[in-house]
């Protein structure tokens, strides 16, 4: 048993060790380049930790190395944190030949992890082949259509913005959408500068429609670079605009046009190195910036983490702004525990200038209670406008650290991974319910009319009742025969048929004469009906009434068993039907 527990313990230890391991890999976007091109080197360090160490990129004699930022993704699944950080570098070759990037290493918990070496072949820069036939370059004496590229400066410092403007001029109709191919910008990091402008301009007395596309270029290394020609391919009308009376004018209706390729002139740019000596804390950032620092929470518990937000705002290549963890450690000192920053940026391109802000969110914590000051943090950059190194500083922030309610001070401080609490999405749903896909929205809308319809119904019924009361005699007169028919149908269910027949007839006559049921008599019938209806009908009615009265008031003289109810009902129906007919004629 003990041996088993020991084995389990060893396995558990090994598993824990595995979790703590990290991995490193490196890749380049191309292995064969020319001298005026550059290679992007990507180093990915990942592991189940939030504190991924920075890789040690060896000094390369044959390349100039520039850091172009890093991106990080953190995921927390079931409390297990895993991080993957991608470090991007730009390598600019110094000479022609075959070179090897030696293994890039990273040290983690005393163990060294390294990548495989990468081979890169640097060839002589060859002028780009002009694939377009020379005759296809459209250039007339009158210059109906042409392109040009310009730059705002031909000499710039490394990482300083150069604005490249491409303009497409035309004063004739185009038969197809122009196809724009941007120029070759090897040696520069490019950034589109929208929006495209379209306007009219007058050159040598001619009015042109101009389409203008701007691009920001940031040189990555010192030296001379050539911005290649930009090309536009389009189809134009194949006729002479001024030659109205020539055949060609009429031919245009049948012509499918002519394809032309327009090319701009290449532009040479001289890239200067940044002035020496460079300040101690300078990390290669060029532009004009301001720094602002804030914390998510100014009052935290011991060992609880908060975010220190370092925001660098201004004009320049925002994406490649760097602010290393070691630099932050230099400013903050030993009181703070600092984790790897998470970066985000917001780029604006107003007035064709790349500007914006990059935020470094640095998780920090303090292991002892008290008031701590986050001192001013300096950001040094090279301003190409003033050609000087400038410094921007933040204001100090006081951080109040209260004794922890979760951890006792006497206990050893928990590991960094446990301390960090980053916001994340919620966990998966572990059960599911099924619903109908159709949401009955129409039902909910229709439901709203139900109370209104009820109200209309009630109001209508009330009106009907009022009307009925107002003209009660007419109501009784009209509905008398309908009531008789209804009651006669149910006569067979009745226990006392004679009584029921008497009631039916007396009620009918009362309704017709507008008197009470009890007041119906031969005299009243005589008074109401005599002379108003056919004599035969009158006689039949009187004899029916007498007969019913006889049954009602002298029941002992008749044998009820012999009374044919069906026959009686038929007789009553017959008489009343005829009477009704007579009354309808009259009224």
């Amino acid at each position: 048993m003990r041996t088993k527990i020991f084995i389990y313990f060893i396995v558990l230890l090994l598993a824990t060790k595995n979790f703590a391991e990290i991995s490193i890999s490196a890749s380049v976007d191309k292995n064969v380049i020319s001298l005026d091109e550059y290679v992007t080197l990507q180093v990915v360090v990942s592991g189940e930790t939030t504190n991924v160490p920075q890789p040690n990129v060896p000094q390369l004699q044959d390349f100039q190395i520039y850091s172009s930022g890093r991106s990080q993704s953190i995921s927390i699944i079931n409390g297990r944190v895993s991080t993957s950080v991608t470090f991007n570098y730009i390598l600019s070759p110094r000479r022609v030949g075959e070179f090897e990037i030696p293994p890039i290493s990273v040290e983690y918990k005393g163990k060294i992890y390294q990548t495989e070496p990468i081979k890169i072949k640097v060839e002589k820069s060859v002028p780009k082949q002009q694939n377009m036939p020379q005759q296809s370059i459209y250039s007339t004496k009158k210059r109906d259509i042409f392109v040009e590229t310009t730059v705002d400066k031909r000499t710039a410092y490394v990482n300083e913005q150069i604005t490249l403007t491409f303009r497409f001029y035309t004063r004739i109709n185009l038969l197809s959408q122009p196809q724009y191919t941007p120029p070759d910008t090897a040696g520069f990091i490019t950034e589109d500068l929208p929006p495209q402008r379209n306007y009219y301009t007058i050159i040598d007395g001619q009015r042109y429609y101009v389409s203008e596309i701007k691009t920001a270029l940031f040189p990555v290394s010192v030296g001379k670079f050539v911005i290649g020609p930009a090309t536009v391919r389009c189809t134009i009308e194949d006729f002479d605009i001024d030659d109205f009376f020539s055949d060609s004018f009429f031919r245009r209706f049948f012509s499918s046009g002519r394809e032309v390729v327009l090319k701009s002139e290449p532009i040479e740019i001289k890239v200067l190195s940044l002035p020496e000596p460079q300040p101690e804390l300078f990390s290669g950032n060029v532009g004009k910036y301001t720094i602002s620092v804030s914390v998510d929470k100014q009052k935290i518990e011991q060992n609880e983490s908060t975010f220190l937000n370092i925001k660098i705002s201004g004009i320049g290549n925002i994406k490649s702004l760097t602010f290393s963890k070691s630099l932050i450690e230099t400013f903050l000192g030993k009181n703070f525990v600092i984790y790897d920053p998470i970066t985000s940026f917001d780029i604006k391109k107003e007035n064709y200038v790349v500007k914006g802000s990059k935020t470094f969110k640095v998780p920090i914590s303090v292991s002892s209670a008290g008031r701590f000051v986050i001192p001013e943090i300096k950001f040094i950059y090279f301003n190409p406008q003033t050609k000087q190194y400038e410094t921007t500083s933040s204001t100090p922030i006081v951080l109040e650290v209260i004794p922890s309610t979760k951890y006792q001070i006497a206990k050893p401080v928990v590991s960094k991974q446990q301390q960090i609490s980053l916001e994340d999405i919620r966990y998966l749903k572990t059960f599911y319910k099924v619903k109908s896909k159709n949401r009955s929205l129409g039902f909910y809308i229709a439901l709203q009319f139900l109370p209104f319809i009820c109200w209309i119904g009630v109001v209508g019924y009330k009106k009907y009742e009022e009307k009925k009361l107002k003209n009660y005699h007419k109501y009784r007169f009209t509905n008398a025969y309908k009531n008789v028919k209804r009651k006669l149908k149910n006569i067979y269910k009745s226990k006392n048929v004679i009584e029921e027949l008497y009631n039916i007839i007396s009620e009918y006559l009362a309704d017709k004469m507008n008197i009470t049921k009890e007041a119906v008599s031969t005299q009243e019938i005589n008074k109401f009906f005599y002379g108003k209806i056919d004599t035969n009908v009158y006689n039949d009615l009187i004899s029916l009434w007498d007969e019913i009265n006889y049954y009602k008031f002298a029941p002992s003289k008749i044998d009820l068993n012999e009374l044919n109810v069906i026959e009686q009902v038929r007789k009553i129906t017959n008489v009343l039907q005829r009477l009704e007919y007579e009354l309808q004629k009259k009224y």
Partner: protein
Amino acid sequence: MSYKKSIKITIVLSLLTNFIYCQQNLFQQGTEFYNKADFVSAKEKFFELNEFLTKNNKVSPEVLYNIGCCYFRENKLGYARFYFELAKKFAYHDKDINHNLRFVKKITGNTAEESFFIQIVKFLSFEETYIFMFLFNIFFFGSLIVENFVKLNFLRWIKRLSLVFLLCFAVLGIIRLNLEFKKTGVVLEPVNLLSAPEETSFTKSVVINEAKKVVVLSEKGDYYAVYLLQDKVQGWIKKDKIGMLAG
């Protein structure tokens, strides 16, 4: 019960059990893959389950939510938001769905898409808004009906109050209806916003980041004319880059 009838019932029951088991199994497999950080396989399982439910004209907000989570882990925030939004349609007040949706909006910088007023309108779901409207409808017309038969003083107050609430909810209901049937979508992947419904260098204006909510104004060919709620700009975007939510 006849012999044939009992066989039929047994077959139907076994098929039903098998269906339920298959569904449950897919869900469990998806969850297990997710726990092993194999988000692609997890997503496939949840997709399979979702497809199965869709065929039967059913939907599960939990399955849609889980697909959104997988996409989030794959760092495809546009798709993640799309599935969270779909899940929300069927489970409006689910805390997890709302938290994840808020989180995706926060990290993609889309927190100011809707005005404060619209946020208030959206506090209640479409169904809830109309149920409240129905209740006040009953109070108002009910008091009118009762008034026809009985004269009670407090009925007058019920009538007035319910009328005020009824009008408020009627306005909310109309806005909610408009929102419900407005053609909206989510940008699934970073895409060029174009000035015309064709993609050339001359029509490109700006790259739109994923997970932005758009209102679809019209369509032409393979493109939608859209209005970006957060950035307040209009343009054309390829149809396959937008996940449609409603309309």
